[in-house]
């Protein structure tokens, strides 16, 4: 076999942490063969980015490479002088980072940034570079490349920026392309476009890829081989199809069992219990043993070695075993029809943009020249729905579609511009106790200066629901509901893991015994295994307390897992809604169909039909004429889409689609 493009062997990297060292990756080995794509997957803290940065020589100065080697085409990277490594970077090895919104310099035109490696490494002059930039932009699928080259980053959408960054990375025809979560910050339909692009680039250029991601679905789409990292160690590696189909390491099994899927609706997910180990004091024995459901005594004392692509001595005997399913699963709830708990009618919200002075416009053409007409955006545009007690309504849509604004209006955080909200017969302001909200970001949803007890106890005191020693008792009860023990009472948020913080946030929302909770991307910031656990907690609470949710997410798989009904939102309006099983099956609104097709699923068959949307989401403007989806619709039927508001068609009982196409 020929020399691999990249061979990392026995790499260990440590960061200083307090008094000691924290070993971020230990004994990591992998290979990227010529023309192949290797996916490095792991949850946050698994060391996947550290490995890539070590290869590039871009580790933080305080990091220390303790041992190991990295060879690029047989050349040992760590022994090269800095100047020689600089020559490699952006030239023969290049990288695309996660966040296209911060990776481009806002002060320079995009074209100049793409030209930089060409001028630097290839010694091209400006004119030759400009021609090459245009060619590259066209190659990554950007329409009108000449204009885009002259544009500034803020004039491009997220997907366009990421394409431009990929063009930069490809500029010098690298032999190895490192991609660090390149689609994580993008919407799912844009992600699908970028993945298509990467796939076609692999075919056309034969470039080898090191693809770093937390998303197993993306790995299944793009990568030939996969290397699963946990706590800085490789726990399993092999061909993607084999690993995903028949995972051998318990962690991989757990990770796959934690994934909510659109194709397979389960009552409860099977999460990985426990929390990520403290790498400055790793547990003895197998690093995964505290969370493993197949743990034996030997695992606790004996560190595991990577043998035959898996770091588990029981791998062979566990071959047929599945990750245990959480016990005590409560039978599926039967939908009780008790009338509507939440009723929303023709709800709309218009935001004014800019400050006081942006509202004045000078126009001499007619009448008094000074006019007050502030620029505005219609974030939510005539939405109606209802939620019954104990029902979960999933609201799915891409960023900027107005779903969070809608959720916040329901709990009285934003005043609607028009329309009506009734919660348990009252307005959101009068129903603060009945309607609560859970937020997305575990790091920002808890006040860092307060203990868990005062965070969860405060709503009780505010609404006079408990006093004195009763507060503590009630807080302990609430913590038990989210499966946290009383030991957490005195802790501060920084002492909790992401999942624990999110559960404290849920306990706080539950304190007033609400009948309705808005979950605004409540699990989106969590790692898969933790997300599954929190989803189970939420499902349990619904069953035990009969609380209804409006579950807002951009992730259709999560929504499909937890929701009884789904509403699909696009540019401020609901384009399709109905029972989950109806929405997930044809007939579809073209947008729903595209969303479903865009999800990178681990078990997608290669034949699955791909529906791609044109372009990116158009800018949010004022009133829409015709169908709001017309600009991106792959099934646009003609002029009628541009002129007439689509009719709402009833595909089945309670399944509504707003589209000109007949169902």
């Amino acid at each position: 076999m020929s020399v691999p493009v990249l061979r990392v062997s026995n790499l260990s990297v440590a960061y200083p942490a307090g008094a000691g060292w924290l070993r971020a990756i230990e004994d990591v080995s992998f290979e990227v063969a010529e023309g192949r794509a290797l996916g490095v997957v792991g949850e946050s803290g698994s060391g996947k980015s550290t490995s890539a940065l070590a290869v590039l020589g871009l580790l933080a100065p305080e990091a220390r490479i303790e041992s190991g080697a990295a060879q690029f085409k047989g050349e040992s990277l760590f022994e090269l002088p800095e100047a020689a490594r600089r020559d490699l970077r952006g030239n023969r090895i290049s990288i695309v980072f996660q966040d296209p919104f911060t990776s481009l310099n806002p002060a320079l035109p995009v074209g100049r940034q793409i030209a930089e490696p060409l001028v630097w490494h290839k010694g091209m002059d400006a004119a030759a570079a400009a021609i090459e930039v245009e060619r590259l932009l066209a190659e990554v699928g950007i329409p009108r490349p000449r204009e885009v080259a002259l544009a500034y980053p803020h004039q491009l959408s997220g997907g366009m920026k990421q394409r431009a960054l990929i063009a930069t990375a490809l500029a010098c025809s690298p032999e190895l392309l490192i991609l660090d979560e390149p689609t994580t910050a993008l919407d799912v339909t844009i992600e699908a476009q970028i993945l298509d692009l990467l796939e076609s680039l692999r075919r056309s250029r034969g470039v080898s890829m090191l693809y770093i991601t937390h998303n197993l679905g993306v790995v299944a789409r793009i990568c030939d081989d996969v290397c699963v990292l946990y706590a800085g160690r490789v726990v399993e590696q092999g061909a993607t199809a084999a690993v995903l189909k028949a995972p051998r390491h318990p962690y991989t099994k757990g990770l796959l069992a934690s994934l909510p899927r659109v194709t397979e609706r389960k009552h409860r997910l099977a999460p990985i219990p426990g929390r990520f180990p403290d790498l400055s004091a790793p547990p003895p024995g197998c690093i995964f043993h505290p969370r493993c459901s197949f743990v034996l005594d030997r695992c606790r004392s004996e560190p595991q070695v990577l043998a035959d692509g898996v770091r588990c001595w029981r791998a062979a005997e566990l071959a047929g075993e599945r990750w245990r399913v959480e016990e005590g699963a409560i039978p599926a709830r039967v939908g009780k029809d008790e009338g509507a708990l939440v009723e929303v009618k023709d709800l709309a919200k218009t935001f004014q943009l800019g400050g006081l002075f942006d509202g004045f416009q000078v126009d001499f053409s007619r009448g008094f020249p000074l006019k007050f007409a502030p620029p505005s955006v219609r974030a939510v545009d005539g939405v109606s729905f209802s939620v019954s007690p104990g029902e979960v309504l999933g609201l799915v849509g891409e960023s900027g579609c107005g779903k969070s604004t809608l959720g916040r209006m329901l709990v009285g955080l934003i005043e609607p511009s028009a329309g009506k909200i009734r919660i348990a017969g009252g307005s959101p302001q009068s129903q603060r106790r009945a309607a609560q909200i859970i937020f997305q970001n575990p790091d920002s949803s808890l006040n860092p200066r307060k203990t868990v007890q005062s965070i969860v106890g405060r709503p009780l005191q505010l609404h006079d629901l408990a006093s004195g020693s009763k507060v503590r008792e009630r807080v302990v009860e609430l913590l038990e509901l989210v499966r946290l023990s009383a030991a957490y009472l005195g802790r501060y948020p920084h002492q909790l893991s992401g999942g624990e913080k999110q559960r404290v946030g849920i306990a706080r929302a539950l304190a007033t015994s609400p009948r309705f909770i808005v979950c605004d991307e409540a699990v989106s910031a969590l790692d898969v295994s933790v997300q599954a656990y929190v989803l189970n907690v939420l499902a349990d609470l619904r069953d035990r307390l009969n609380v209804a949710y409006l579950f807002i997410s951009h992730d259709l798989s999560v929504i499909a897992h937890i929701a009884d009904r789904i509403a699909v939102m696009y540019r401020g309006a609901i384009v399709e809604d109905g029972r989950t099983e109806d929405v997930l099956q044809p007939p579809w609104h073209p947008y729903t169909e595209a969303l479903l097709s865009a999800i990178p699923a681990v078990d997608r068959t290669p034949e699955s039909k791909r529906i791609r949307l044109r372009g990116d989401a158009v800018e949010r403007g004022e009133a829409v004429k015709g169908c709001r989806f017309q600009h991106r619709c792959p099934r646009k039927i003609g002029a009628i889409c541009e002129t007439d508001t689509p009719p709402v068609r009833e595909a089945a009982a309670g399944h509504r689609i707003a589209c000109h196409i007949e169902v």
Partner: protein
């Protein structure tokens, strides 16, 4: 609870200076205005520990007398600036819109007048007195405090725990006082420690213009300013008050650091 070392060190140095200021007149070996033309510019000696100035006055005694005024200027002005600036900044950052616009434009107005001019404006209307100088200096620094507090508040007010508080129906004063302010303290404390230093110096500048302390009384800033023409022949006249001023500044900053540590649960050790 363990006290952070910086708080202990800063606190004890500051306490020492404060005690010296309080007991100043009793400790001073000479009267602060006791001139002795024969003893001009004496270098430090056993009789005059820090030497004498151009009128033969004992530098140590003048420093002890001046300590009170200097501390009043530094701490008093900073207190005034905090009391006015922090609530305005909180309100501007939390309510945004019209309230923000009104407060910030008023602040712009205040900031557009140079500090010394502003001091003259405030102080020339009524007969000068050290208290009023301190208040004037405090007002001069209000814009800085408002802007700082506002920017911190803007950031914290968009955090989800503030939204959660609003969603459960908390009143604005609770959100500002119990949710936002505790998280806004660290930068405010750092800024306040800096303000103490600047206030002492600005107070001295105003005194130099006859708008604060009146000669022959003095404070440290004024002593340094008065010693400037003789800095080559008699450096000790400026150095001694300079050193105590430095010590005070360092002590105040250490206290600031220590307070930050005490107030931030993330920096506490031995828990969890």
């Amino acid at each position: 609870m363990r006290w952070p070392a910086s708080l202990v060190a800063g606190g004890s140095v500051f306490a020492l200076i404060a005690v010296a200021a309080a007991l100043g007149p009793a400790l001073a070996p000479y009267p602060y205005d006791g001139m002795d033309i024969m003893a001009r510019f004496l270098p430090p000696s056993a009789a005059h520990w820090f030497g004498t100035d151009e009128f033969g006055r004992d530098v140590l005694s003048r420093m002890l007398y001046g300590a009170r005024l200097s501390l009043l200027m530094g701490v008093g002005a900073t207190a005034v600036c905090l009391v006015i600036g922090v609530p305005l900044g909180l309100a501007a950052g939390y309510y945004r819109g019209g309230i923000d616009e009104t407060i910030m434009r008023a602040i712009d107005l205040l900031i557009s007048v140079p500090p010394i001019l502003m001091g003259i404006l405030i102080l020339s209307m009524t007969p000068p007195n050290p208290w009023k100088t301190a208040i004037a200096v405090g007002i001069i620094y209000v814009p800085i405090m408002v802007r700082l507090t506002r920017s911190v508040t803007l950031e914290i007010a968009s955090e989800e725990f503030v939204l959660a508080a609003r969603a459960r129906g908390e009143r604005p004063w609770y959100i500002l006082g119990a949710e936002i302010l505790p998280n806004a303290w660290p930068p405010i404390i750092v800024e306040s420690a800096l303000r103490v230093t600047f206030a002492i110096m600005l107070g001295a500048a105003l005194s130099f213009l006859g708008l604060g302390v009146h000669p022959p009384a003095s404070d440290w800033g004024l002593m340094i300013a008065e010693a400037r023409p003789f800095i080559v022949e008699a450096p000790w006249v400026a150095i001694a008050p300079g050193i105590v001023l430095c010590l005070t500044v360092i002590a105040v900053n250490l206290i600031g650091d220590g307070l930050r540590e005490v107030l931030d649960p993330r920096l506490k050790r031995g828990r969890g």
